[in-house]
Chain length 188, copies 2
């Protein structure tokens, strides 16, 4: 039950309103490269994110636009920024930390910073085929020099998904995982 | 089988010769705070470490002096610095990466950068009591919102040790572990 791993570096999803403020009214994001999930893409546009203690420059915007702005950072980033983001599934901003996003034309401060949950993208057919149909969480067994098991990998199902686990850079670096590596999905 | 976890931030151990170069001949390190392992201490002195792509300032020196200079960094740090350190047990500098250390009086470039292996400090009695006598590796089961199992935790035995697992900041941040947290040691 091998699965490919996508490593997600810190990034920002923007709402129409916040894109207008950061880059100018009616600005359109430009695609730098497609991501593995259909319709998703990395943009040429970057922003600075800022918390109470520090800032991080050149944070990539991912498209397309969303209904709500969301800033996904790692725990490591959170110490540098001085924010305390909760662990959340993408789209769930309940309790998200306040963070300032700075673009070339303006800045916004929004309750939008989260640490994204470990998750697996799959179609219904993938879930059935690999034995985790109806499961909310699976686990990931990783080999190598710093091996182990990452638990609470949230199952996200959509007919448009490509089967792939997404981890943030803290999880990846702790286990010496590179983007595109394989690991074993396990169901308990 | 609960065990306390010490989180090791990036740090430097220095040889007498390298301390002389960095801080001046016959300089003596000054203690800022004792560490959990007897005789070990954090120093007031800090240095900058530099690789091909970047540098990190204010890296703490740990005392006392050692026979060989050793720089312990995380995988995350390694990307920022542009070095490719191997995973090694403390004291094993086989294949260690070249890194430049900059002090107030001088700088040295040494093959000294490693990612420290996950490890547990224990006495022979601890190993017997907790069931890992004679084992080279144990595992650590971590709870919380990002739970899992960290494997290949190297067993280090000495009569002077305090029973404690040491993890680097990548492992800690991936599992939302803070210095002083508890986890469960497991033996396979």
């Amino acid at each position: 039950m091998k699965v490919n791993i996508g490593v997600s570096a810190r990034h920002v999803h923007l709402s129409r309103n916040d894109l207008d403020i950061l880059f100018g009214k009616d600005y359109e994001l430009t695609e730098k490269a497609p991501l593995s999930q259909p319709g998703q893409f990395a943009c040429n546009e970057q922003v600075t994110i800022e918390g109470e203690k520090g800032s991080i420059e050149r944070v990539r915007i991912l498209g397309p636009l969303r209904s709500k702005t969301q800033v996904e950072i790692s725990k490591t980033d959170s110490f540098k920024l001085g924010v305390k983001p909760p662990v959340r599934n993408s789209g769930d901003l309940d309790g998200a930390s306040s963070i300032t996003i700075i673009g070339p034309k303006g800045k916004v401060t929004v309750d939008a910073a989260i640490i994204a949950s470990r998750h697996v993208h799959a179609t219904k057919e993938d879930a059935k085929k690999y034995g985790f149909e109806g499961k909310e969480f699976v686990s990931l067994k990783v080999g190598g020099e710093k091996p182990g098991i990452l638990e609470n990998v949230y199952v996200r199902i959509s007919d448009s998904f490509v089967y792939e686990v997404h981890l943030d850079t803290d999880d990846a670096n702790a286990f010496l995982i590179k983007n595109g590596d394989e690991a074993e999905l396990i169901v308990k």
